[in-house]
């Protein structure tokens, strides 16, 4: 696959705390990439730095091998933060219309996105009055209506119940299948395993692994194999959850 976006040696400090240290990763065109890590790992900071809404201390973000400065990244990617309530006094219908009009999205996709994320009953409600789960679906709809080739979403399953998580997961897979690259920050491992093609593991601001589940499993096995006493520690990791525990 051709690399769609490459993050190279990104650093970000908050005072004496290193939020991101030497973070490098690649987002391939057309894939669903999951950024996995425990709370406080730096996932949101990494997404904000990549999107250019938070200044990184150093490092570059490249698209097709060309460095793209922060203010220009909006031409290549769209980032949907977690926990926001944009245009809270406006109706959902207007927020979606604004997204299409302001960002130049495809109006023809509007009906499909509304149907896929089941937000028709919310259209006349104000964004600020929605529950956490309802708002999350609306935010995802906004992200899916934007025209940039890469869509990044921070915690897209947060606040959703099991059924909604599965439906949203399916919607995101379909969205990627329609030709858009999707990069998700997820802390629910089961959701990540179901939706993503590849994973980037982040812990304490550092990338601990990047690859498919098989590649990360092999990496975890290799880490276990080289334990200081020369013995294998614990059982072989089985599934993304154990891989994450082994690598982070």
């Amino acid at each position: 696959m051709i690399p769609g976006l490459h993050v190279h040696q990104l650093h970000k400090r908050y005072g004496s705390i290193a939020a991101l240290a030497d973070v490098s990763l690649t987002v391939r065109e057309g894939e669903v990439l999951g950024l996995i890590g425990p709370n406080g790992a730096g996932k949101t900071t990494l997404f904000e730095c990549i999107a250019g809404v938070l200044p990184a201390d150093s490092g570059t973000v490249m698209v097709k091998d060309q460095p793209v400065p922060g203010p220009d990244r909006g031409s290549h990617l769209f980032f949907m933060p977690d926990g926001i309530a944009p245009w809270a006094s406006q109706t959902v219908r207007w927020a979606l219309d604004f997204t299409v009009g302001f960002f130049g999205g495809d109006a023809a996709r509007l009906a499909g996105v509304i149907e896929r994320l089941h937000i028709e009953p919310l259209m006349r409600r104000r964004v600020g009055t929605l529950s956490k789960g309802e708002r999350k679906r609306v935010l995802l709809a906004i992200a899916m209506l934007t025209p940039q080739p890469l869509m990044m979403a921070d915690e897209p399953f947060d606040g959703l119940d099991l059924r909604q998580s599965r439906e949203v997961g399916t919607a995101l897979r379909e969205h990627a299948a329609a030709g858009r690259t999707v990069f998700l920050s997820i802390h629910q491992i089961a959701d990540a395993e179901r939706v993503c093609d590849r994973f980037v593991l982040l812990s304490a601001g550092r990338v601990c692994g990047e690859g498919t589940l098989d590649e990360l499993t092999a990496l975890a096995r290799a880490r276990l194999a080289v334990d200081d006493a020369g013995r294998r520690q614990g059982a072989d990791p089985n599934g993304l959850e154990e891989v994450v525990l082994a690598l982070t």
Binding site: A51, P71, G74, L77, P86, W94, D97, F103, R126
Partner: protein, 442 residues
């Protein structure tokens, strides 16, 4: 709903809708009616009482100018609203995006930050023009009472308040963008407003450069516009400050730009604005748009003063807080500077109040000097100053034509219907509009 409009049009629509959804906007709109109404009713009553004594002889006619008697106090209510209500509307519009997270989304559109700030400024300006409806209703009422209006002076008053609102909006936008929280922005904005009052106070005490700087505070600027005086330097300085405020707002809106760079850009903008202000402050063009020519000498006097040869130097031996000095400045020197920007005025006093200098040698004297002559006088009235200048210049005072005397427009009218309009109809209309706006989208 969807249309082929460009992103900037969408942004304008969004800002407008956010304004309409803002409680602070509706509160300002609600309050400005009774505020203006109280000022208007009181002004019309006082004007009517004074007009009832038929005191329209030459010399007191200025007192019966609607500009001073009606429009200055009526529009003063707008000054209050601009200082204490408008900042909250502006801060809500700027900080709201940051608080809700909308800014993080909108910043991902490759639109220049200044365009984003312009959209907010345009909407806020439109909001202020709507909020200026009550004084405009006052004008309609005044005409219905049989009062006269003079369009140029009304335009000057209105323009002064729009500029004042522009300054408030720019300041509030800058503080809202720089700070993380709306309450901090509000405190900063009000702090700057209070700071300009302190500057005015310092100017009254110390004079000199303080006085020069205080001439560009919103209060001083509005006061001149309310008297029909439009000074180009004040307009240019105000526009520079508005541009600076909007520029700072735009700079600090860019969350993705490192803070150090934003600080650097802000300093550069500040220095550039300062240089521009220093240059603009040297401009001496002004227009007296008042019907009563309240800021000018009579035309024959102006013609005669223009003929005075050489740089006229005036040494004033009066303390900054001496009422005679205030009289001299307002009644004579400010008018003189408009005709002869080359006059050099120097104030000499040992103290700021002058109370204990009264018996000091030369205190109270005003020296008029041309290269070859010198005249000393103690008069602080316009006529006294003119007489001294003609004497030092060796000119005969010109004859004043009868048609040059402003006779005023007395009107003994009661403010009929004003209370109902401003205290009942306006609040009801605003309430109905707010309710309709709320219902429209739901």
């Amino acid at each position: 709903m969807r249309s082929p409009s460009g992103p900037f049009t969408w942004l304008l629509r969004k800002e407008w809708r956010e304004l309409m959804a803002s409680r602070s906007w509706w509160v300002m709109l609600l309050l400005i009616g009774p505020l203006v109404g109280m000022a208007f009713i009181s002004a019309v009553r006082t004007y009517g009482e004074l007009s009832g004594v038929n005191g329209t002889v030459a010399g007191v006619g200025e007192a019966f100018s609607p500009l001073i008697g009606i429009w200055a106090p009526t529009f003063s209510a707008c000054e209050l609203a601009a200082a204490f209500l408008l900042p909250f509307v502006a801060i809500r519009l700027v900080s709201g995006d940051r608080q809700s997270g909308a800014l993080k989304l909108e910043l991902q559109h490759p639109m220049p930050a200044m365009a984003r700030m312009s959209a907010k400024a345009i909407v806020l300006l439109a909001a202020w023009i709507i909020a200026s409806l009550p004084p405009l209703l006052g004008i309609v009422l005044w005409r219905l009472y049989g009062g006269t209006t003079y369009a140029p002076e009304l335009t000057a008053v209105f323009a002064g308040h729009v500029l004042n609102a522009g300054l408030t909006v720019a300041l509030a936008c800058a503080t809202a963008a720089v700070t993380d929280h709306p309450s901090t922005a509000a405190i900063l904005t009000l702090g700057v407003t209070v700071g300009t009052w302190i500057l005015n106070f310092a100017a009254a005490v110390h004079g000199g450069l303080w006085d020069r700087a205080a001439g560009y505070t919103p209060t001083a600027m509005v006061a001149e516009f309310q008297h029909g005086l439009v000074r180009l330097d004040a307009v240019l300085v105000a526009c520079t400050l508005i541009a600076l405020g909007c520029g700072l707002g735009a700079t600090w809106m860019r969350l993705g730009v490192p803070v150090r760079r934003r600080v650097g850009e802000s300093l550069l903008a500040g220095v550039t604005a300062l240089v521009a202000i220093v240059v603009f402050a040297r401009v001496s063009v002004s227009w007296d748009l008042s019907e009563a020519r309240a800021n000018s000498f009579s035309r024959p006097d102006e013609t005669a003063l223009a003929r005075v040869r050489g740089p006229l130097r005036i040494d004033v031996h009066l303390a900054a807080e001496d009422p005679r000095r205030v009289d001299l400045e307002q009644r004579a020197l400010s008018k003189l500077r408009r005709i002869r920007p080359d006059i050099q005025v120097r104030y000499t006093a040992a103290t700021s109040i002058g109370l204990f200098e009264q018996t000091a040698e030369h205190y109270g004297e005003i020296w008029y000097e041309l290269p070859d002559r010198k005249v000393i006088s103690r008069a602080t009235t316009a006529d006294g100053v003119l007489a001294s200048i003609y004497e030092v210049a060796g000119l005969s005072p010109p004859a004043t034509a009868e048609e040059d005397v402003f006779r005023g427009h007395p009107l003994a009218a009661e403010p009929k219907g004003a209370a109902a309009l401003f205290y009942a109809i306006w609040p009801a209309a605003v309430g109905a509009a707010a309710f309709w706006n709320r219902r429209r989208d739901s």
